[in-house]
C-alpha cells in the first residue's frame, strides 16, 4: 500500500512542477517579452527612447528571450524578485509582509467559514426537503448572490455609519488591531460560507440515501448515533476538498475586501501593482498566488486520498 501512495504523491508533485513551469512561461510571455513595456514600466512613461534603450542594454534585455527566461526563473529561486518601482524597495521586502497580513485575514475567515458551513450543511442535508433544509439553502443562495463589495457596503452602512460600532478602515496604521479585522472577515465569511455549506449539504444528503444508513436505522440505532457515527465520516470527505479548493475564490474576496477597507494585504498589493504597471511586483505576486493555489490543489488531492478508503486501498 505504501508504494502506490508514494507514486501518487510524486505524480501530484510532478504535475505541480509542470503547472508552475507553464504558468511562469505565461507570466513571462505576458510581461517580459515586450521589452519596451518593461522599460516604460521601470523608467516611467516620460522617459525618452534613448534612456529606455540604454537601460535595456545595461540590464541585458537585448539578449534572446529564452536566455532571459532561464535567468528570470533562476533569480526567483534565489529569492531575488527584482525591485518595485511603485514602492521603491526590493519586491521581497514589501511582498512577504503583505502576504503575512493576508494570511491572518484568510485564517480567521476560514476559522469561521469551516465550522459554520459544515454545521449548516449537515443540518440541511440530514433531512432533505425539510424546513431546515429549505431555510439553509435559501440563506446560502442569498449570501452568494451579494458580491463582496456590496456586502462590504451594506455592513459599512449598518455597523460603521449607522450604529458606529466598528471602524470603516482597516489600515492598521497604529499596529495590529482586532477590531479592524472584524468587518473584512465578516464580509469574506458572508460570501464564502454559502458555497461550502451547499457542497456539504449535497454530500450529506447523498450519504443519507445509502444502504448502510438505512441498515443502521433498521437495526434500531438512535438517530443521533446514526448521524454522528455512520453518516458524518463519509459526508465530510467531499467538503474537505471543497474547503481546500476554496483558496482561489477566497482570493477574489480578499482583493475586494482589502481594497474596500484599505487593509494592507497581498491582494491590495497585486491590484496596486497592476494599476501602476509595476512589472516585477506583478510577476512576483502572480507567481506566488498561483504557487499557493496549486499547492492547495495538490494538498486537496493527497488529503482526499487519505480520507477516502476506497482510493487509499485500491
Amino acid at each position: 500500500m505504501q508504494i502506490p501512495v508514494l507514486v501518487f504523491v510524486l505524480k501530484r508533485i510532478g504535475y505541480m512542477v509542470f503547472t508552475m513551469v507553464a504558468v511562469s512561461l505565461l507570466v513571462f510571455l505576458l510581461l517580459e517579452v515586450n521589452v519596451e513595456g518593461v522599460a516604460v514600466g521601470v523608467l516611467g512613461p516620460y522617459s525618452t527612447e534613448e534612456q529606455r534603450n540604454l537601460w535595456l542594454e545595461a540590464n541585458g534585455y537585448f539578449r534572446p528571450a529564452y536566455v532571459r527566461y532561464f535567468e528570470w526563473v533562476s533569480r526567483f529561486f534565489t529569492g531575488d524578485l527584482g525591485h518595485s518601482v511603485r514602492f521603491n524597495v526590493p519586491v521581497a521586502d514589501i511582498m512577504w509582509p503583505r502576504l503575512w497580513n493576508t494570511a491572518i485575514l484568510g485564517f480567521w475567515a476560514m476559522a469561521i467559514i469551516i465550522p459554520m458551513s459544515l454545521v449548516l450543511g449537515v443540518l440541511a442535508g440530514m433531512k432533505e426537503g425539510s424546513p431546515q433544509d429549505r431555510a439553509v439553502s435559501l440563506l446560502c443562495i442569498l449570501t452568494v448572490s451579494v458580491p463582496e463589495f456590496a456586502t462590504a457596503t451594506f455592513f459599512s452602512a449598518v455597523f460603521v455609519f449607522g450604529l458606529k460600532w466598528l471602524p470603516g478602515i482597516s489600515a492598521m496604521t497604529d499596529g495590529f488591531d482586532w477590531v479592524q479585522l472584524i468587518l473584512p472577515v465578516a464580509v469574506l465569511v458572508t460570501y464564502d460560507f454559502g458555497y461550502v455549506a451547499r457542497m456539504t449539504r449535497a454530500s450529506m444528503a447523498e450519504v443519507m440515501t445509502t444502504a448502510y444508513i438505512r441498515t443502521a436505522f433498521l437495526k434500531g440505532l438512535p438517530y443521533r448515533i446514526v448521524i454522528s457515527k455512520h453518516a458524518l465520516r463519509n459526508a465530510l470527505i467531499a467538503p474537505f476538498t471543497v474547503i481546500l479548493l476554496q483558496f482561489n475564490w477566497l482570493l477574489n474576496g480578499v482583493i475586494v475586501v482589502e481594497f474596500a477597507f484599505a487593509y494592507k494585504g497581498f491582494g491590495a498589493l497585486l491590484l496596486e501593482a497592476s494599476l501602476n504597471e509595476d512589472i516585477y511586483l506583478i510577476e512576483a505576486c502572480s507567481m506566488v498566488a498561483v504557487f499557493v493555489a496549486v499547492s492547495t490543489q495538490v494538498l486537496a488531492d493527497i488529503g482526499y486520498m487519505y480520507l477516502n478508503p476506497r482510493i487509499r486501498f485500491k
Binding site: S137, V146, P147, S274, A289
Partner: protein, 301 residues
C-alpha cells in the same frame, strides 16, 4: 434521423425544428411554475431585462445630465426636479443611472458568458469525443489556466492590456472557458457510450454532425443550469472589476463603477453606494434562484 420527440424525460431529444424547441420551452416554463424559487428568480431577471429595454421611457432624467450634486433620496433641487434616489457627486440622477446601468451589465454579462460557452463547448466536444491528443492537450491547457486564481488572471491581463470592452470579454472567456470545457467533456464522455451515438457512427455520419446534432443537444440540461449560475457569477465579476477600477471607462453608468466612484463619499451619503449594490445583488440573486429552480425541475424528471 427522426426520433420520437415526446420523450417525457426531456433528455434524449435531438432538436430538429424551431417549433419543437418552442414547444419544449413552453413545457419547461410550465414545469418551472411549480418551483416557487425558480419563479422568483425569473421574475427578478425579467424585471431587470424590461428595465434595461425600456430604460429611456422609465428613466426620469438623462443619466449623464448634471443637476445639483449630493442630494439625498427624495430631495428636490432649486428648479423643483424631484430625485427619488438622490443625485451623485456631480449631480447626476441616481435612479436614471441605475436604470441605464442595467443595460451595460445585461449586455456584457450574457455576451461574455455566451462567448465563453462557445469556446468551452467546442473545446469540450473535441476533448471528449475526439479523445487522444486532443483530450490530453486541451485538458492540460485547461488545467494550467484553471490553476490561476481567476481574479489574478483578470487583474494581470486587464492591467497589462487595458480595460476595454473587448479585453474584459476576452479575459472572461479565458478564465471561464476551461471550466465549461471540463463540464462539457464529462457530459460527452458519458453520452458517447450511448447506443444512438453508435447508430450514428454506423450510419457514417461525420464527426461534426455527431458532436453538434447528436451529443450537444443531449447535454443541454446540466449546461443550462450551469450557464445560469455562471451568468450570475460573471455579473459579479464585471461588478468587481469596475469596483476595483478595472472596469469599462466612465461616464456611461456602470453599477460597480458607481460604487467605486462614490466610495469616498459613503460616510456622508450612503445612498450613492447602497443603491447600485442593491441593484447588482438583486440581479445576481435572480440568476441564482432561476438556476436553482431549473436544477430542481431537471432533478424531478
Amino acid at each position: 434521423m427522426k426520433k420520437n420527440n415526446e420523450n417525457l424525460s426531456g433528455k434524449i431529444v435531438p432538436a430538429s425544428s424551431v417549433g419543437l424547441a418552442f414547444k419544449r420551452a413552453v413545457k419547461s416554463f410550465a414545469l418551472l411554475k411549480e418551483s416557487r424559487i425558480g419563479m422568483a428568480g425569473l421574475f427578478l431577471v425579467v424585471l431587470w431585462i424590461l428595465i434595461a429595454i425600456f430604460a429611456p421611457l422609465i428613466a426620469p432624467y438623462d443619466p449623464l445630465a448634471n443637476f445639483q450634486p449630493f442630494l439625498k433620496p427624495g430631495m428636490v433641487d432649486s428648479k423643483g426636479n424631484l430625485f427619488l434616489l438622490g443625485t451623485d457627486q456631480i449631480g447626476r440622477d441616481m435612479l436614471s443611472r441605475l436604470i441605464f446601468g442595467a443595460r451595460r451589465v445585461l449586455i456584457f454579462a450574457p455576451l461574455a458568458t455566451f462567448s465563453a460557452y462557445l469556446v468551452g463547448i467546442v473545446m469540450g466536444l473535441l476533448a471528449g469525443y475526439r479523445g487522444g491528443w486532443w483530450d490530453i492537450v486541451l485538458t492540460r491547457v485547461g488545467d494550467v489556466i484553471l490553476s490561476f486564481p481567476p481574479i489574478v488572471l483578470y487583474i494581470v491581463i486587464i492591467g497589462v492590456v487595458g480595460a476595454t470592452a473587448i479585453n474584459i470579454v476576452a479575459a472572461i472567456i479565458l478564465a471561464s472557458g476551461p471550466g465549461i470545457m471540463r463540464i462539457v467533456r464529462g457530459l460527452v464522455l458519458d453520452i458517447r457510450t450511448r447506443e444512438y451515438i453508435a447508430a450514428a457512427e454506423t450510419r457514417g455520419e461525420s464527426d461534426l454532425f455527431i458532436m453538434l446534432v447528436e451529443i450537444l443537444p443531449n447535454a443541454r440540461g446540466p449546461l443550462i443550469v450551469d450557464a445560469c449560475l455562471r451568468l450570475g457569477f460573471v455579473t459579479i465579476t464585471i461588478g468587481i472589476l469596475a469596483f476595483l477600477g478595472l472596469g469599462l471607462p466612465p461616464p456611461e453608468p456602470d453599477w460597480g463603477g458607481m460604487v467605486n466612484e462614490a466610495r469616498v463619499f459613503a460616510l456622508a451619503f450612503p445612498h450613492m453606494t447602497l443603491f447600485p449594490c442593491i441593484a447588482i445583488s438583486s440581479l445576481v440573486l435572480g440568476f441564482n434562484l432561476l438556476a436553482d429552480g431549473l436544477r430542481e425541475i431537471s432533478l424531478r424528471d
